[in-house]
């Protein structure tokens, strides 16, 4: 078979250009590279500052991690310190400095506290699980795990006194806590902070396929600065930024000749609204940033979210169709969360999250507090084994 010169030149040119174009599009998959970086990072002692802004609140968790069995955390919300905790092997010390805050941090403590009257086992002042999850408080199920082993009156009195309470065997079994309810981001922000890098790993797994992780490349053909909420990496200082791919929309089912389930399949999951980047320096994680925003997704010229919601059977009011992006975003978020909860899926959580990693390899001061009152902490915010991300 003879190949013309022109055809031959075209084939050669396309073979040469393919990798260049791939590079331009930023499609070189860096998933394994980022996994190795995360593994290196979590193999060292370290300090985390985890902050999450959500629903008008800001939660901050500071965590000093010596290793997976020795760490301490402090958890504050909107500037108020809510809890401090130290785990040293089997021992666990807990302090809830502001007794009034105990009601917000640990509903199980609040409802069973002597003298307050019983509101009912497992009840929560925060309302339903989904509401609790959305606003970032421990969900009733999480608190309800305390029902396995309820704290005694002495423990509750000590906790409500605002001092440290120490349980020499309070760290529990060497296994993760298993509950009937899936643990969602926001159910327990201390756990979220400790597991933040595992969360990144899980997100990569969920994306799957090639190109799940790419290096920041503002010259890529598919890069849009207006959809990028994060600062560019300081490359002069040796900083790299790894970006998790945002999945596109599934094909739209349309209205005619399709089932309701098919039309609901056309609605995007939480990952569609998420930008997640990991800043790395000297082969170690320095910072993780995540932004989940419906309003930003509305800037994407390819999106047709309101039409898809209408396809799925939810009427879109005219005031929303013609409303400002913020109005549309609020409506879309509400509708999607309701649909996801109905389908037992992880609900969309609109937030800005940041994890700053420091003190890598340096000794962390993780010691049990002096003068703590001794009591069993069984049933008080039980987490089980949380650091298992190596």
């Amino acid at each position: 078979m003879r190949v013309s010169r022109t055809a031959f030149a075209t084939i050669v040119a396309s073979l040469l250009l393919a990798p260049i174009l791939q590079g331009c599009a930023g499609r070189e998959d860096r998933t394994n590279e980022l996994r190795a970086i995360i593994a290196r990072t979590v193999s060292q002692s370290r300090h985390y500052r985890y902050s999450e802004a959500y629903a008008g609140h800001t939660a901050v968790v500071e965590a000093s991690i010596q290793d997976d069995l020795r760490y301490k955390t402090s958890y504050s919300r909107d500037g108020h310190l809510l809890s401090e905790e130290v785990i040293v092997d089997d021992a666990r010390a807990l302090r809830i400095p502001d007794p009034a805050a105990a009601d917000r941090v640990a509903p199980s403590i609040a409802v069973t506290r002597p003298g307050l009257g019983s509101v009912g086992a497992g009840a929560s002042p925060t309302g339903t699980a989904s509401q609790a999850s959305t606003i970032g408080l421990p969900a009733p199920e999480a608190a309800g795990a305390a029902a396995e082993s309820r704290p005694g009156a002495q423990t509750l009195d000590l906790i409500h006194s605002g001092g440290w309470v120490l349980d020499a065997a309070g760290a529990g079994r060497l296994q993760r806590k298993h509950t009937a309810k899936r643990e969602e981001l926001g159910d327990d922000q201390v756990r979220d902070a400790l597991n933040a890098l595992r969360y990144v790993d899980d997100s990569m797994t969920q994306l799957g396929g090639t190109g799940a992780v790419v290096l920041y490349n503002p010259e890529a053909i598919n890069y849009r600065a207006d959809l990028d909420p994060f600062p560019r990496p300081k490359t002069a200082a040796g900083e790299l930024r790894y970006d998790l791919r945002q999945p596109g929309l599934a094909p739209r089912a349309g209205g005619a000749g399709t089932s309701e389930a098919q039309r609901e399949q056309g609605l995007p999951g939480p990952a569609y609204f998420r930008s997640l980047s990991v800043y790395v320096r000297r082969g170690l994680v320095e910072r993780v940033v995540e932004s989940v925003s419906v309003e930003r997704a509305l800037k994407n010229p390819d999106q047709d979210l309101l039409a898809r919601i209408q396809d799925a059977g939810t009427q879109v009011p005219a005031s929303v169709k013609t409303g400002a992006p913020s109005v549309q975003a609020a409506f879309i978020a509400r509708t999607l969360i309701a649909q996801q909860l109905r389908r037992n899926q992880s609900p969309l959580r609109v937030h800005e999250l940041q994890l700053v990693v420091s003190g890598l390899g340096a000794a962390q001061d993780v010691t049990l507090p002096d003068g703590a009152a001794k009591a069993s902490l069984a049933g008080v915010l039980p987490r089980g084994l949380v650091l298992d991300q190596g």
């Binding site: 069995l69 079994r173 060497l174 993760r176 190596g390």
Partner: protein, 183 residues
């Protein structure tokens, strides 16, 4: 490392746990600081390949006793990857078995620093996929078996398997002490 090897190890530990006698009033365990010596009537037979690996004398204040593993599942000639094996038991004062510590030495053909060898061993010890824990400078693989937490780690040519009953409330202390002694 054959699947048989690791299964034998776990079976041995699980079998001991199951065979643990009912609590009976007996003298308390050897005081901390006492040496780990073969328990009465269970001295290793001469034909067994005994392993002198570093182990603590006590774990969480309970004495270790070396158990005889000869003539049982763990005869090393039946476990081709292992050149020597020693099993210790940890019993409460009432003789209830709360943990076992097994130390095995791999034959030169098996490189314990290889992730493939480690993965093969840890994936088959316990009923659940192993989770990696960083404890001090050591990676410990944690899995669960019925009523047990099974902790595995490696030192040069040796591997350690600490199986702790879930009823015992200080497994991390035990692990930390065993790790320190095995350095």
């Amino acid at each position: 490392m054959s699947r048989t090897t690791s299964l034998l190890l776990l079976l041995l530990a699980a079998g001991m746990m199951a065979a643990s006698p009912a609590p009976t009033p007996t003298p308390p365990a050897v005081a901390p600081g006492a040496s780990a010596t073969p328990s009465a009537g269970s001295a290793p037979a001469k034909h067994c390949a005994h392993l002198d690996a570093p182990v603590p004398k006590t774990l969480a204040d309970f004495a270790l006793s070396e158990e005889s593993v000869c003539g049982s599942l763990s005869q090393t000639q039946r476990v081709p990857a292992v050149s020597a094996l020693t099993l210790y038991s940890v019993r409460r004062a009432d003789q209830l078995l709360i943990a076992t510590l097994e130390v095995g030495r791999l034959k030169p053909a098996f490189d314990p620093s290889s992730s493939a060898v480690r993965g093969t061993i840890t994936a088959q010890v316990g009923d659940t996929s192993p989770e990696r824990l960083k404890v001090g400078n050591t990676i410990v693989y944690v899995s669960q078996a019925r009523g047990l937490s099974v902790l595995t780690w490696f030192r040069k040519r040796d591997f350690y398997v600490l199986a702790v009953r879930d009823i015992f409330d200080r497994p991390r202390t035990m692990l930390r002490e065993a790790l320190a002694a095995s350095q």
